[in-house]
């Protein structure tokens, strides 16, 4: 802060010096050319050669020569130095642990690296192999289905619950909006699955879906119905099971997210809608949803990426011979030491995630409503 004020002090502002200089040179140009050359060489107000500025980056302002400090460019330098001081470490970490693995992965996807000392560059061979690999397409089909269905199911449920929690209740004590009874309790309960580790969720649900001793089939059995082999046979059943578990474990997050977004909508808007005689459904579609659209879109992208990224739940809960998502297929290739091939699958997933985000951003683009 101190630095900022000192630099910001007006007195011998470089700008004014410069303009004076300019006037001077204008004057001298009027007289003679040789004088102009001499005028430029005058010591105090001259702009420094750029090279001399660089060492100043490392000097505290107190030790910086005035000549440098009063330079016009010193102010910009000081500003960026200030910002850089905060960002350098996080950026370095980001570059080291996020950017460089990405780049390395992309590089390895073009090699035949098998974990050994040699990684030969083989061009697009891995991608060609992937194109011909039926197992890849099978897994991608599952992942694509998840990508389409999971966000819709999860977000619809999340919005519904959030609306019920914030605005679904009766209008008591003259309040324009209120949640259903016990809404603060529900909010906590919905969030529970988020607190559990993914592998625990997968193991527990694996038991719930167990054909012979699971909770679901046990219940069906009591009702006299023979339950199906959820995770032991039909691909569709396993997909339904997987979808249920993913939605179940993520919906709480979206309930909280959307509740917050709905809570930020000014009450008077809802009041106005109420006065105009709008019912709950009308209020929701006419007022609430458009006002939280930005949040919904963000949630949609996030959930889509989560769906593409489904790994632990599928690996732990669903037997690989029944159904597998692309990340599980990728994992299996890693396990077999086909690192080059596995990373190329990873790169394809990256591209798909980016494409998905871009499409959703485009599709969901609306004018923002300010409130």
């Amino acid at each position: 802060m101190k630095t900022g004020t000192r630099v910001g002090e007006p007195p011998p502002s470089n700008n004014s010096k410069n303009s004076k200089n300019a006037q001077k040179s204008d004057d001298s140009r009027n007289s003679t050319g040789s004088e102009a050359a001499r005028g430029e060489g005058e010591p105090p107000p001259t702009p420094l050669p750029g090279l001399l500025l660089w060492p100043a980056v490392l000097l505290p302002p107190g030790l910086t020569p005035k000549r440098v400090r009063y330079d016009r460019r010193y102010r910009t330098l000081d500003k960026y130095r200030f910002i850089l001081g905060f960002l350098a470490v996080p950026l370095a970490f980001y570059a080291l642990f996020v950017v460089s693995p990405f780049l390395q992965a992309i590089y390895y996807s073009f090699t035949d690296w098998s974990g050994g000392p040699v990684a030969n560059f083989i061009g697009f061979d891995n991608y060609r192999k992937m194109w011909d690999d039926a197992r890849f397409w099978d897994s991608l089909q599952v992942s694509a289905l998840l990508l389409v269905i999971t966000p819709v199911v999860t977000l619809v449920l999340g919005i519904f619950f959030a609306y019920m929690i914030t605005a679904g209740g009766r209008h008591r004590r003259g309040q324009a909006i209120a949640g259903v009874a016990g809404s603060s309790f529900y909010k906590v309960v919905y969030f529970f699955p988020q607190v559990l580790s993914v592998s625990i969720v997968a193991v527990v649900w694996g038991r719930v879906f167990n054909t012979n001793s699971g909770l679901i089939n046990g219940g069906l059995d009591k009702a006299g119905i023979e339950g199906p082999a959820w995770l032991g046979g039909d691909e569709t059943l396993a997909l339904i099971a997987l979808l249920t578990v993913i939605s179940w474990s993520f919906v709480g997050f979206y309930v909280v997210l959307f509740s917050a977004a709905m809570g930020a909508i000014p009450k008077d808007i809802h009041e106005a809608a109420l006065l105009d005689g709008a019912g709950r459904a009308r209020t929701f579609f006419g007022v609430t949803l458009p006002l939280i659209w930005d949040t919904v879109r963000t949630g949609w992208i996030y959930m889509g990426i989560q769906a593409l990224d489904t790994f632990a739940i599928c690996l732990v809960m669903v037997p690989a011979h029944v159904l597998k998502v692309t990340p599980v297929f990728l994992y299996e290739r890693f396990r077999d030491g086909q690192y080059g091939y596995a990373t190329s699958i990873g790169v394809v997933l990256l591209v798909l995630s980016v494409a998905f985000s871009l499409i959703v951003m485009r599709v969901g683009n609306r004018d923002r409503i300010e409130y």
Binding site: G115, I122, N210, A229, G232, P319, A320, V322, D336, G337
Partner: protein, 477 residues
């Protein structure tokens, strides 16, 4: 997983560096082996009748044992034998869970500190790579040496032939020696079959179907398999492929030959099983990771099914749920009909717990001698007593009172004689078994696909592996 790969990477980097240095040395080594010129630097003593491998009596010996389910007591027994014969050698045994981390860097650097290694466990060294890089010694010398118990019989003659077969990697040399045997097949309760159903073990498929029918009448399923791990079916099917079509059928599978899985024998076996599935003799519904345990409980404790595909570890694994009078037993796969190429009794019984001797071990002869001792009757019997697995030494546990499952497994091996079959592709191209067969047989056992699709799926998978540049192929010698 992360740490493992990093380690492996480190190891391999070192390997690359060491490889450059090691190449001339390897050349020197092989030239002396063939030319019979100067010996390498390994410690060697005089060969004699008492010392057929020419062990130097005072050379130290380092033994590395994988410290897993078997522990290392069984090996300490052998190390103690060694110490007794060569007191000056002061042999040292190390038990570790991380064989690769402990042993491999030094092997690839060309200066192994281990003289004999039990290459086992989750962190075992990739034997294919070791062989490829000529880092392991040919153990033929041990097999040719006179056995510990009888100088007139070679070690080779005391072992079941599977041991040498499984040490070969497309050539005649034997690079690893296993010490235990696993018997796969149709496991059943002799009490239920003989007393409950009043039937003998079915030797033909027709008899098998008849038994299943009889069982069904009593409300018992003839078969079951762990739906969560459908690959168990392989344990009851594999020997049938060989039995039906002879060894060339299974060899074709191992070497990924064209139409290996489209052989008529394969078709016949699948069709036989299809009938069993179609008649609903199979108890299903054991899904999830613990499927095998659930199935074994239903089989032993609840008596819901008669036969299960399994391996000889099951007796120990299902110990807690097995009633005392269960009389667990294993049977070989039934013959289809008189057109079979191999007799009833053909058995899928591979050897396990591999040992290697590093090619450049300082006391290589000592390592070989240690293995010769391991294959003594005394040590083999001790192995059985310590870990409960069948030793590969013939007749080593004769006269020992065996639990019923193990006894029947041993009887099955005796009955099989030379007709023991091993799927080498399981070692060489593991994904063909673990993924492709697993996925295929799941659908097959559910009745979703028939024999034709089953064969097509496997053939396509076999061709995919053949084409995959990321998988090193083993060539037929």
């Amino acid at each position: 997983m992360g740490t493992t790969s990093v380690n492996r990477r480190d190891v391999m980097k070192r390997a690359a560096a060491a490889g450059l240095l090691a190449v001339p040395a390897v050349g020197a080594l092989s030239s002396c082996a063939s030319g019979g010129g100067e010996e390498n630097k390994a410690e060697k003593g005089e060969k004699s009748k008492k010392n057929p491998l020419g062990v130097k009596a005072d050379a130290g010996l380092a033994v590395y044992i994988f410290n897993g389910g078997y522990g290392d007591k069984y090996a300490q027994f052998v190390t103690d034998m060694y110490a007794e014969k060569y007191p000056k050698a002061k042999p040292e045994q190390k038990a570790t869970e991380k064989i690769a981390t402990q042993v491999q860097p030094k092997i690839v650097r060309g200066k192994p500190t281990a003289d004999v290694v039990n290459n086992s466990g989750a962190e075992q060294m990739n034997i294919g790579k070791l062989v490829h890089n000529k880092q392991v010694a040919d153990l033929g010398e041990v097999l040719d040496a006179p056995s510990w118990d009888d100088p007139d019989v070679t070690v080779r003659e005391t072992l079941v032939p599977v041991v040498e077969q499984m040490g070969r990697f497309g050539g005649e040399e034997c690079y690893q020696l296993n010490i235990t045997l696993t018997v796969y097949g149709n496991w059943y309760s002799a009490k239920l079959l003989e007393d409950g159903l009043d039937t003998a073990y079915p030797k033909t498929w027709d008899e098998m179907l008849a038994v299943c029918k009889k069982a069904k009448a009593k409300g018992i399923h003839g078969w079951s398999y762990p739906g969560g791990h459908p690959r168990y079916m392989f344990f009851s099917m594999y020997a049938m492929f060989a039995q039906r079509g002879g060894r060339e059928v299974i060899e074709a599978m191992d070497y990924l030959e064209p139409d290996a899985w489209r052989h008529d024998a394969v078709k016949d076996v699948f069709e036989a099983w299809e009938e069993l599935v179609a008649k609903k003799y199979v108890l299903t519904g054991f899904d999830g990771q613990q499927a095998h345990t659930e199935m074994q409980t239903a089989w032993t404790k609840e008596g819901k099914c008669l036969f299960v595909p399994n391996g000889s570890w099951v007796e120990n694994e299902a110990k807690d749920t097995t009633p005392k009078d269960f009389r667990m037993a294993v049977g070989a796969t039934p013959s289809l009909d008189s057109g079979d190429k191999m007799p009833f009794g053909t058995l899928y019984a591979p050897a396990g717990e591999p040992f290697i001797v590093p090619a450049k071990a300082t006391n290589r002869q000592g390592g070989l001698e240690w293995l010769r001792m391991m294959y003594s009757k005394e040590a083999a019997r001790n192995l059985f007593e310590e870990v409960g697995s069948l030793p590969v030494v013939k007749g080593a546990i004769d006269g020992v009172k065996l639990p019923s499952g193990t006894a029947s497994a041993q009887a099955a091996i005796k009955a099989a004689g030379e007709n023991i079959v091993i799927p080498r592709f399981m070692d060489w191209y593991n994904e063909l078994f673990r993924e492709d067969f697993n996925n295929m047989i799941h659908k097959f056992m559910q009745g979703q696909i028939g024999p034709k699709q089953a064969m097509d799926t496997m053939q396509k998978a076999s061709e995919r592996i053949l084409k995959d540049p990321d998988i090193t192929k083993v060539k037929k010698a």
